[in-house]
């Protein structure tokens, strides 16, 4: 019955897709994609970068800055125990290390070093797509905000 072959194929195909959904370990990201943004917030008249749409409302709820500009933005693929160094400004470097990944969370360690000395460190768990922002201190009506998101 050749007429049934299309339908049969469709079902087998759907079966394969479903199987891959329920495969053990699905979602247990072997590596995660981390996106960082370095944002300059200032009281100067300006605009908000449209790429900050996801966090602008939350920023607006806390600060009264007028302008949010992205100074640098990038994505990097990291596996467990891999790290990346991101220069924040002339003196400060941010080091992000992925310490663990689970289907629900990615654990990261964030270290900010100033002239080789650690000034800030935190360990946090992030869910897919949620933003962790680290900002301040503000100087002369400006502040640097570092934003980190993960995708997998």
């Amino acid at each position: 019955m050749p007429r049934f072959h299309t339908a049969k194929f469709t079902f087998v195909f759907l079966g394969v897709i479903l199987f891959s959904f329920f495969m053990p370990g699905k979602g247990k990201a072997a590596s995660v994609q981390l996106e960082w943004r370095i944002i300059l917030a200032s009281h100067r008249k300006g605009t908000v970068d449209p790429r900050l749409r996801d966090i602008y409302r939350d920023l607006g709820a806390v600060f009264n800055y007028n302008s949010y500009k992205i100074l640098d933005m990038n994505r990097v693929q990291l596996s467990k125990n891999q790290s990346v160094s991101i220069p924040l400004d002339r003196n400060r470097v941010c080091v992000i290390k992925v310490t663990n990944t689970t289907p629900k969370w990615v654990n990261v360690q964030i270290q900010i070093n100033r002239k080789g000395r650690s000034v800030f460190g935190t360990a946090a768990r992030l869910r897919n797509g949620r933003s962790l922002l680290i900002g301040g201190p503000s100087t002369r009506n400006k502040a640097l905000i570092f934003s980190l998101r993960s995708f997998w």
């Binding site: 360990a123 897919n128 900002g135 201190p137």
Partner: protein
């Protein structure tokens, strides 16, 4: 399924032997796959037989129970005169599943399941259950004081570093 409706429309003409040969092939192929239509055809054929015997008047829709009652009750057992559809092979698991899954309700349910699964797995921002945070801060070491803000839906967490100077406010 559309094929069922078409098959059922063609049944009278099929029983009258008026269906074109190529249509008969498609018709019979569907019957082999579809128990529902097969049963329907059997009912129609039974109705015709009873009508021939004069047991029921024309144009009276019969239920299967009626037929069984009529057959088991007054009618003397007799070899059916009508033609018998040759069923080359009994329907296998695939035909049974197919005739089940291609009925509208299971098909729609199946499609909805697939869509729901797809959404839950591929949405970049999964739907959080109430009260489940999107970010958990496990520890902080800082040479300065920090303030932590969390957005209403816990989608965003902000750690704000406060300078340790004379202008520092107590936090």
């Amino acid at each position: 399924m559309r094929r069922c409706r078409k098959t059922q429309k063609e049944m009278e003409r099929y029983l009258d032997g008026e269906l074109l040969p190529e249509k008969v092939r498609v018709f019979e192929a569907h019957l082999r796959a579809c128990p529902k239509c097969r049963k329907e055809l059997e009912t129609k054929r039974e109705q015709r037989r009873l009508r021939i015997h004069g047991l029921i008047p024309e144009e009276v829709p019969l239920t299967t129970e009626d037929i069984i009652a009529a057959v088991c009750g007054d009618v003397p057992a007799r070899q059916p005169r009508g033609e018998v559809i040759p069923l080359a092979t009994p329907p296998g698991w695939w035909e049974k599943f197919r005739s089940f899954a291609f009925r509208p309700a299971p098909a729609i349910a199946f499609a909805l399941c697939i869509v729901a699964l797809g959404l839950s797995l591929f949405l970049p921002f999964g739907i959080l259950k109430n009260g489940e945070p999107g970010i958990v801060i496990e520890n902080i070491q800082s040479s300065s004081s920090v303030v932590i803000f969390q957005s209403e839906h816990a989608d965003t967490t902000l750690i704000w570093i406060v300078p340790n100077g004379e202008d520092q406010e107590a936090t």
